[in-house]
């Protein structure tokens, strides 16, 4: 049994991949049902995996809460918030709102998101702006080389094109800066992006072939 499980897992993975590959290259009404079935299974498994991940997170924090010690309070807040949101969404629906008319409508679930989660994430992103400017300002202090200068110059030109200078208020300068910004974003940046995308695509193809051939078994076994 110990030896059979890896073999079964590999056989299922290879057969499923080959089937989907065939269905992708040769779609027809005859095999549409099979394709829907396999894709439905994959989507369902993805949803169940998300649910298991959330459940595992809760278990970990519950253990930390039960053990006590440092960080137990944070774990308690997390568990409470998760349970509250879950119960509210199950009980009232995710888009529940009550109130009529144009008056203030209370949407419990949306309220939690809108006034707690959303501000927290946006605030963290706002601090990132200050950190990036500070890092850029000290870049030459840490790495005083040509590449750092080139990088900073590029950043300044892009920022300049998006700033008031690129708004066209400064005539030729604005035109020149805007053109430079467009050229940087469309030529060097796009070229680099294309290379990255091609590399990603090739890696995806190689990974798929390895899985289909059974040499790579990320599913274990």
């Amino acid at each position: 049994m110990k030896l059979r499980l890896p073999v079964i897992s590999m056989a299922v993975a290879i057969l499923s991949g080959l089937a989907l590959l065939y269905l992708a290259f040769f779609p027809s009404s005859a095999n549409a049902h099979l394709r829907a079935l396999l894709l439905g299974w994959a989507a369902s498994l993805g949803g169940i995996a998300l649910f298991i991940g959330i459940l595992n997170l809760l278990i970990v924090h519950v253990d930390k809460l039960s053990e006590g010690g440092r960080g137990a309070a944070n774990s308690g807040v997390l568990v409470a918030a998760a349970m509250l949101t879950f119960i509210l969404a199950l009980a009232f629906g995710p888009n529940f709102e009550y109130g009529t008319g144009e008056a203030y409508q209370i949407q419990p679930t949306n309220w939690l998101f809108r006034y707690i989660q959303f501000p927290i994430e946006t605030s963290l992103m706002a601090v990132l702006a200050v950190s990036l400017i500070y890092a850029a300002a000290r870049l030459l202090r840490r790495r005083p080389n040509a590449f750092s200068i080139i990088f900073l110059a590029t950043v300044l030109f892009i920022l300049l094109g998006n700033s008031l200078v690129g708004s066209g208020e400064f005539g030729v300068i604005s035109t020149g800066v805007t053109s430079l910004r467009d050229w940087i974003t469309q030529v060097p940046a796009a070229a680099g992006a294309r290379g990255l995308l091609i590399g990603v695509a090739l890696g995806t193809i190689a990974t798929g072939l390895r899985i289909l051939m059974g040499t790579d078994r990320p599913y274990g076994g």
Binding site: P94, F113, R141, N162, D182, T185, L197
Partner: protein, 885 residues
Amino acid sequence: MADVRCPMCSKPNPDDRDECQHCGARLTPLRLNLPPREPAPEPPPSPEPSAPRNDPGDWLRSLRGGDDDISIHGEEDFPDWLRESPAPNTTPDAPPAPTSATGDWLSQMRGEQASPASLDADDDSWLGAEETTEAQAPSFDDFNLADTRVSPSLQAEPAPDAFPDWLTELGPTDPPAAAEADPAPMDFDPAPQTEPIPQGDLPDWLNDPGQMGSLTLKGTDSAPLDFDQPLELEPIPQGDLPDWLTGFAGEEPPAPPETAPPAAETPDWLASLTPASTGQEDETDRLAPAASPPAAADLPDWLTGLQQPAPSAPDATAQKAGELPDWLSGLSTGMAGEPAAPQPAETGLPDWLASPAAATPPATEPAPDAAMPDWLASFASEVEAAPPTTPDAMPDWLDDPHAPAETPASVAAQPPASEPTGSMPDWLMELHQQTPNLGGQAGFKVEVPGWDFNAPAATEDEQESQPDALDWMPGRASLAQGLLGSDPAPQEPDLAPGDLPDWLKAMRPIEATSPGSMGSPEFEGGKAERAGPLAGLRGLLSAEPTVTQAGKPPAYVIKLQITEAQQSNALTLRKMVEAETERQPVRKAALLSEQRVLRWIIVGALFVAILFPYIWPGWLTGLPRVTAESSRSDDMVTALTEDAPVLLIMDYQPGTSAEVEAAASPVLDHVMLRGARLTLVSTSPIGPALGERFLAVIEGHHTTYRTGVTYMNLGYIPGGIAGLLNFASFPQAALLVGYDDVPLWQLINPAGADPWGQPPLQGVTSLSDFQMTLLLTDDPDTARNWIEQVEPHLRELSLVIVTSAQAAPLIRPYFEAEQVAALVTGLPGGAAYEGSLGREHIARAYWDSFGVGMLAAILLILGASTYNLYVVWDERETERKGRRT
């Protein structure tokens, strides 16, 4: 119960045992059951003594009378009792002759006894006529000394006339059956025999005291031999003895002592050896060799050499009480050098068992005694002529193991033995010649290495002069040849101990000749073995383990000796290890550190820049120009029909929602202005919530948009890329329940919550039914997934992506590949779209603060970088100047 000591192992045993319980030796002597004594036959005429052969083995082979071509010394040479012994080939009834040399003559003699018809009164076969068969032939085990029990074959009841009378009288008169049932052990102190053997039963050669010696057997016809009685031998007529025996004839045996020896249990021949017995002189005299030598013409040639002049009277001092007889003492002549042993009378042991005495050996031969046969006396005289040794000296094989071993020097110090005369046989002569180091003793003498463990170690000189360990077997090659009867081969000179022949020396490698050739000092020199068969050899393994050898153990220096450099390195290493565990003091950061100041400056500048338009509201900046990719989105939205289904994908994060929503708000506003029905989906779990929030912001401008009426939120698409493909292929099957306000328990009946039946999704069965797909994302991978999986199922050139400035470079190739119809990038794109739309939304509100803030960031970065460059340059200059100085 008195204990009986075993004669072999000297351990006590119960009195009622016949055999020793430790070693198995017999405790009681074994009594032979001999047939009644028969009248002694007439002595046959003595044959003419033939010339002794030069072959030493002839006498033995002649006795055998086997298939050898060596003829017997003529029929007339042997007495009748020996002549009538049937040859193995002549007597069919006789048992086949054994192959062994010694067995032929013995079995032959037994074969004679097997035919009683050949025996008569005149038969003086002294072995009796026991009919033996091949199966009954005694084997060597029968004569095993450890088992003195007589074999059944020998104990069988002999024929009435099987044994001569004189031999019969030697044994007990008990029937053989009784003896066989309980064979009597060999009795070393037998009971005195009351019935001596009648004289007439003895063969003539035993009755002739003149020829044989002084043994006289007395006894009645039917009486067994009385060992306690002095043996009285009557001289055998001259003609009755064979030639080979006539040579042994010595002097007239002395008259037997008149007085009978005291009634002791030991036989006379043994009693003479005991120190406590009386009349020891008589016994000694009796055991002295024969006095008169036989006539030269009567003896065979090989025996003539053994003839010795009449031995002189034994030295009184040597033959004193407790001393060994001459014939026995002569065996130990070569082993002189033993320390003086205590007198036997002092130790209580017989002379021959006592330690070798220090008394000087007799210088001359002892006087022949009537008790010793001439043939034995002649040998004794030769032995006595050897270097003197004490009569009490025991042979070395009986020596005390703790006595000091004999050294070659002591052997060499012995007076040389007198050369024997030509009376010795040749084979014996050669043996004598080849043993010069033994003092010229006869070949009977066997040198045994002295296994003296307590003796002081010999010096190196003595060790080197010691002979080889196998020197005690000299002339073994010639001795073997003599026994076999072949001509002695020319003897090669004995190799000196340790000497190699020349031809072998030439082959020896050079390293072997140099010191240390063996590669180990223990093979050179070293301590030579002093005892045992390997005496004299060097480089041997110790017999005793090192742990048992007594000695002071070597003193080892425990103190570790290290150098100063090692000590300093160890100290440094120790400091390093200790430093790791030490707590380093945490330096408190200065309140006005450079880093803190810079951060505060940045925050302040950004705050000022963001708040500037609100502080100075009259100062506005112009919106950016519309780009090509953003102008196409305007055209596409403009081309939407009223109530067109539009798929709105909300795949961005709350952190980047400010930029994405600022860029997407004019587009979505434009779409909502066109009256399109929106369908919200997302591959992010919080996407539906973001969509709801975004629409709530936009709805402020459009009050007609309601969920379930003008837009439908389908919620989260699980499964990642597979879910996208599933949604793209089977959208109605992929999303059965929307992001609505239906509780969980109402979802049991999915039909009631089917979103695809709602008005926003009417007429939409696949994604191609959507006139436009608006993707809002900040991640280039998400955009790529939608493009790769879903775009093929969309209507052609209906995908519009609104993205942040950070993902735009990675999505632009898809735009240029015309997989993406329009692309709106970040706040500038949204601001430009708003400018073209003519409706101000979030982008316009953010644009002034964004511009000023961007400018502030540029200035900050530029300034700080410049300052840092200067600092770095200054440090390098200082360092360079420092190097120069």
